[in-house]
């Protein structure tokens, strides 16, 4: 922050946000010049107006989606890391699981949402399950490769000193896996909320995705875009926060 404070505030704003400002300005001009009916396409100013005027409409939906995304993210990362540790203990288990998870992590998971919804039923717990599944794969893949790549020679040192398998895990493999886990966290954090929204949109249960679908079909387009704007801000914040966490972890364990 000290580094940047030498420049005037306006210049700093333009330098950091020129892309976003241009985008919003272009959107506003596009709608105004084409004289779109607000039902078809509202201006960003109108969307902001709706957000300010009716904040309570959004609060509940945001709460639900955020809770589902956060719990799903934590559970998905815990299960992914846990299985990676289990696979680390057993060469057979990791041989069995690794190709399968790599296969799954390159699958378009959003395409699986309708199948999962059919299997588990149309309610909020299904949205949670979908977030868990979507965050599980990157955690498992990144944790596995991190656990297996400690600094060269360190494993021999642990063996020479007679360390148990458990203490190798705790003192060597897990710390070595931390930077990778941080990357997985960054990838999963932004996705968790968006995946939750797609699932809510498809199943019509609750939360921001449902608010979007409902207001869109009721021709309250401003509110639909308001819901999307809120989701965008939350997801971008999650991405930035996770990037900050990743940097810290890399400084500590990298």
């Amino acid at each position: 922050m000290e580094r940047a404070s030498g420049r005037p505030l306006l210049l700093r704003l333009v330098e950091d946000y020129w892309g976003i400002l241009l985008l919003l300005l272009g959107w506003q001009l596009w709608v105004v010049l084409n004289r779109f009916n607000p039902i078809v396409m509202p201006t960003p100013v109108a969307v902001l107006g709706d957000l300010v005027a009716y904040p309570m409409v959004y609060v509940q939906s945001v709460g639900i989606t955020l809770a589902v995304a956060v719990f799903g993210l934590i559970a998905g990362m815990a299960v992914g890391t846990g299985l990676a540790v289990a696979a680390w203990f057993s060469a057979v288990a990791s041989g069995l699981l690794n190709p399968l998870t790599i296969l799954f992590s390159s699958v378009p998971v959003v395409a699986l949402i309708p199948v999962i919804a059919r299997l588990l039923g149309y309610d909020t717990s299904t949205v949670l399950a979908i977030v868990v599944i979507i965050t599980f794969f990157p955690s498992f893949v990144f944790a596995s490769s991190g656990l297996r790549s400690p600094p060269p020679g360190s494993e021999d040192l642990f063996r020479v000193l007679g360390a148990s398998r458990l203490s190798v895990l705790w003192r060597l493999a897990l710390p070595a896996a931390m930077p990778n886990l941080a990357i997985a966290f960054k990838l999963a954090a932004a996705h968790a909320i968006l995946a939750a929204m797609v699932a809510e949109f498809l199943m019509g249960t609750s939360g921001l995705g449902y608010l979007f679908a409902k207001t869109k079909s009721d021709f309250q387009t401003e509110q639909a875009f308001g819901a999307s704007a809120v989701a965008t801000v939350i997801s971008a914040t999650a991405f930035l926060l996770a990037g900050w966490v990743e940097k810290r972890v890399r400084e500590r364990y990298g």
Partner: protein, 249 residues
Amino acid sequence: MSAGRWNVLLGALGIALFLVLWEVIGRLGLGGISWPPLSAVLEMLADDSKWALFQRALAATLQETALGYIWGTAAGLGLATVAHLVPPLRRGSDRLAAVLNSVPSIALGPIFLVLLSRDSTPAAVSSIHVFFIVFVSVSSGLQRATPAHRDLFAVLGADRLKRFRRLELPAALPALASGLRLAWPAALIGAIIGEWFGASRGIGILIINAMQNFQIVLLWCAVLLAVGASLLFYGLLTLLERGAYARFG
């Protein structure tokens, strides 16, 4: 037996176990009525009378995905290059990319519906997904050239553009190849979501219709087709990536 071959064998065994488990759960009805045995899904996939439907849907989705993939790659590569050559633009373009990536895909649908048309919406949503991944990977790749190389180019009197073309761009190619590999499943997801906003055909339409009409086996067929299309090209792009690392890594 060598460790590598042993692992391949175990991996194949893991996948086989998964497929057998799928079949057994379906046969015994443990997953409820929405979990058909694998054989029933494969049977419908092989059915000649359904094949015209699958082929039309698959062709439409692949075409949209390819279009979105090309546009997204061009945009990501373009913005990353401009931001690299004009440093004051860097911070702003990073933020723009991060925000674009945070817009829910289901919100992009209605925007492109108005901006373009029903049938170009899938490719457009897909291109936004691809754009972000390519932008991030190329941006980091362009910074991979070592200071020693940069100094050498400076000493030999290369100008900014020559340094970019001969040093930084080749150094960024492996990262670009990784980005291209990761972008393919994302492109496919974008096209499928884009189709939900009124495209006339495609895998996404097939999935939604089957889901709403409770045609369970058809739903699984559509999902398997999407997975197959994803894995096939992902595999091909993995080979491209290996080549890029071998030559430029």
